[in-house]
Symmetry: D3
Subunit: 120 residues, 6 copies
């Protein structure tokens, strides 16, 4: 069975490629800006990914949440820390955020399982 | 074939359990507040579920709409009354609400069918 | 000193007149639909105004909140009932609703004062 | 395999029929207004569909985006022009629009393929 | 008395200057992209400003609406055409857009008056 | 002349007091949760205020932005760091965030001036 995580990654990669193949200069430049914006600066990349996750939660965008959860885990944000980012998203954005928290939890479970399965 | 209604219920239950197993105190308390907020008070639970449905429609959250439609039907809100809650959601929120009305209609059809199939 | 309530009413009336003077048929028809939508039907006007208030709170529109609070008070929704509509708006929409609750509270205070000042 | 485009069309048609069968007068009138709003007027239908697409992008509604992309293509909006509507949506609405751009791109690819496959 | 139009222009200019004086490279580049995005391309600047107006209406941002209304008038979009952009914004975004239409109408009145007062 | 900062503080304090005087248990508990959510935990209060600011920017709520900017400055977030939180808000939320960035910049200028004026 294809996991939600795999499906997200494959679909995202395939369609991002198509978007960029067909993109205007404006869209290409925006994609660059978007990438650069999360690089280490006055704030470390790790904090910026947390900021991106908090913003994505309250805007209730599943794909953006998935993306930033994956990046947070990659950059060593702990499960307890992610739990508190979820808190801020929930308190700021209200119960309407809950369906997205549910799906984020499902994805985080897959992600932690995947990491646990990898040989050390 | 699994109906949209069944899928919604199973997925919601499974992931809510995971969210609560892993939740911080803040998230747990918010879930309690969320539940208590729809209890009988100055306004009956029935009216509050209608308010929740109207809010969910304009925020365009399918899962929240599904949840409040189910609760409204449980608490005896008639199909004609639900139709007028849909009206308010549509007029306040505009044509962008229509795709959610479509899915809410599909779910309501399943729900009314399910109730009709139950022995009296 | 001009109260927030008076300012809201004067500005709203003046500009609504201008909008309608210059409106297309589509806009005029939408305004009619909007008015008719809150008339007594399967649900009483009173309930529909509550639904409109709950939707306006989560969409965070001060003018719409002001309008529906005024209509709710006119149709006899009690202060305790309005308090519970605020609850639903706050729980569904999160802390981002609080600044609007503050202004709604200020307006409701003016409105109740105005009603108290009127000879019986 | 059923394409995303076909699925969108079938589902939309089936459920729109159900919505209209069960609709209140308010909902029916709104659907009429919605249709009429995109007719030729001071602005041609073609421009209005572009306006609808730009609005749908920033509101991040996949079904509305799909609908207006299909209409734009039908009314002869070129791929380069659609690319610049995507630009406006992306710049106004930010990176949160990207997942919707991806899906819109996927759908546009299917649509252009479908048109290419049709005998002249 | 300072008109709403003048106040908008002065405040916008003063604070944009401060934003740019203190801006990061990311913010500066975004401002450039934002400006370039509305230049003539496959679509003329005039159409793009209309797209920006439609997007701003449904996102209910008064300052963005004011900005694009001013640009539309500068680029020769007629009052009748603006009326139909307002239609699309109202139908897509619903009654929650009305307070913004009111303020946009007030601003458009000031703008047309200002143009009428200018020597030919 | 009253600064925007002073006006924000006075208005906020006066109306928050009224909201709490008249609040239901649900509203009071939500206010408590909201306060507790930003306390030191797995993440320090400082990071949580940054998350709150990023969420407030993309939801485009001036009062929430003002509140979190003030808290960030109190907790020692530097101007350069705030600039990068603004970047994330701008990139995630798009040009529609710019009017709020302008007002946030104005408020931050007042705040830094106020701190500079204080005797050491």
């Amino acid at each position: 069975m294809t996991s939600r995580l795999e499906k997200f990654r494959t679909e995202r990669e395939r369609l991002n490629a198509r978007v960029l193949e067909t993109a205007t200069t404006t869209t290409k430049r925006f994609f660059n800006l978007d990438t650069n914006c999360y690089r280490d600066g006055a704030l470390p990349a790790r904090t910026k990914e947390m900021l991106g996750l908090s913003a994505s939660l309250v805007l209730r965008c599943d794909d953006c949440i998935a993306y930033h959860v994956i990046k947070c885990v990659e950059l060593g944000v702990s499960e307890a820390e992610i739990g508190e980012i979820f808190d801020v998203g929930l308190i700021v954005g209200g119960s309407i955020v809950i369906p997205h928290l549910r799906r984020a939890r499902g994805l985080l479970d897959e992600l932690l399982q995947e990491n646990a399965d990898e040989p050390g």
